[in-house]
Symmetry: C2
Subunit: 326 residues, 2 copies
């Protein structure tokens, strides 16, 4: 009798199909699909590997006591905040993530917004909509100063692209470190308010952890230069949205590009939609054509390592809430 295939459960968002590319596991795993807490409870018994594609899920807590055979949880997202429930954190279960897949697309997105701010692309489009020809002097990109909060894989890729076009880029991590090939300097997060005034662009590329939740509040926005712009491609709750709205409304900062929000989807009556110099997008900065398939391939590669007994890639430090730099 052949050995039974290991059971892999994939937890997607409600209403979503299994992601493309997962069919490559046929013959290597018994694939189950759940879309919420109840269906996850139903498929967890016997499941050895859980792959979570819904980065906003709250199904884990609800279904957890049905997990009788679980050996590993993989998240097809960079952020693992929704996975790291207190129970998962306290367990011995390894958690891995999608480190790497989103880095470059997100860095392109951030650089694009920096240039769009400097060149006032939004102003161009608004004038265009009114059929209005109006020459303005715009800003040079070269030499502007960028602070990337979060010196992980995504933050480093942002730094590399920005430096390649002549921006000056520093990073901010848990502790101060000397500059390296990516960052001119790496400041400690404890110095956030002292450091903020020196930058034209402040980019949040940090994971959502107890150390970053609410980091950008009224005091942080007050510390930024009035001509500076704020870009968040990390996680919404790193920002106190009401404080950001007030800072933008009162012109205490000069603009924002936001891809992530405390509440997603952003409610249609939210004040952010109509603020001046504010660019919104629907949590998609890293999602280039083919991204779901890339995530499946990355998971399957890790799954084969797990079957062979090789070390898993992208192992999350569950205390810190992210994959530490190697």
């Amino acid at each position: 009798m052949p050995e039974a295939l290991p059971v892999v459960a994939v937890l997607t968002a409600p209403g979503e199909d299994l992601p493309p590319g997962m069919d490559a596991l046929e013959g290597e795993a018994e694939l189950r699909h759940a879309t919420d807490g109840a269906s996850l409870r139903a498929v967890l018994p016997g499941t050895r590997v859980l792959c979570v594609t819904d980065f906003r899920t709250d199904a884990l807590g609800e279904a957890w006591d049905a997990a009788d055979s679980l050996e590993w949880i993989h998240a097809t997202s960079a952020g693992v905040d929704a996975i790291l429930t207190p129970t998962v954190r306290a367990s011995n279960l390894p958690v891995t993530n999608a480190r790497g897949v989103f880095d470059r697309p997100i860095a392109e997105f951030v650089l694009g917004h920096i240039i769009a701010f400097c060149k006032d692309f939004r102003g161009n489009l608004e004038l265009q909509q009114r059929h209005e020809w109006r020459h303005r002097d715009t800003e040079r990109v070269e030499g502007r100063r960028v602070l990337v909060v979060g010196a992980g894989a995504i933050g480093r890729q942002i730094a590399r692209l920005c430096r390649a076009v002549g921006l000056e880029v520093d990073g901010m991590g848990r502790s101060a470190r000397p500059g390296d090939e990516d960052f001119g300097a790496i400041h400690a997060q404890s110095e956030l308010h002292q450091r903020l005034p020196g930058y034209d662009f402040v980019v949040v590329a940090a994971p959502l952890t107890p150390a970053t939740e609410g980091l950008f509040d009224a005091a942080a926005f007050a510390a930024m230069a009035p001509e500076a712009r704020f870009i968040n491609i990390g996680r919404g709750p790193i920002v106190r949205t009401d404080d950001l709205v007030a800072a933008l409304r009162e012109g205490r900062i000069a603009g924002a590009a936001l891809d992530v929000f405390e509440e997603e989807p952003l409610p249609s009556d939210h004040p952010l939609w109509d603020l001046p110099n504010t660019h919104l997008s629907a949590h998609m900065a890293g999602d280039v054509i083919g991204w779901r398939r890339s995530l499946s391939e990355q998971f399957i590669d890790n799954f084969r390592r797990w079957r062979r007994g090789d070390p898993l890639r992208n192992l999350v430090d569950k205390e810190q809430g992210f994959v530490p730099s190697s």
Copy 2:
């Protein structure tokens, strides 16, 4: 009796003041100011140096027979098409231009538009105006192919910035040349239609000359890939605007970013304003804060060379219509 100061006439657009920074010539030149053909006629007698800041002027032809002492014409623009009247072209007068000042800002502008197209920033803004949350998969920038038509100083700076972020960039010049540190390959303009299908972005950075006027017509747009975007930061008349409008309307190309137009200002009832995936700006791609002062400084540097008898910088080849690469 001290030697009389050389007379310098500055021709600006109608209604414009002398550009900032020109006052540095006090004590070195007798400065005169003209704003149209009639006032230019009045100031030309005795004028040894003419500095033209209006790149759209047609005053030269009208005033020309009043030029009795002219030794040199400088244009504070990259394009010198308005200066190179048949008479100027046939004369021995040296013509210099603003080569260098606009290169980097224009390259930043072009790269910004490439990223904005890939990431659909316009779609984001239109959704935002409707308070609509809609996730889309967007395009990767890395690895996309760019053809820069015009392998001069501006084209090369565009290539450098684009290559720095992972785009593949070829150039197009009068004749084919091997690739170099800026371009993967340089194609001959005679091969335009054969080469166009291979590129995701086609950027016009060429001067307006008899060889480039109307280069982008219906046949050129038909040769482009349907998913390709067209970017013009060169000169409007390099493009047959009606053909471009038709190509955009019928989806034969995927979009355009236009900073220059056959008629400027673009008339408010022009069909371009409302076309899908078309980004318009008011001939300002290179005009970063302080640009007028930079242009004055560049002219004054050349003026001091001229007084000392040193070779002028940025000497235009009047046959070709631009400053040849050194």
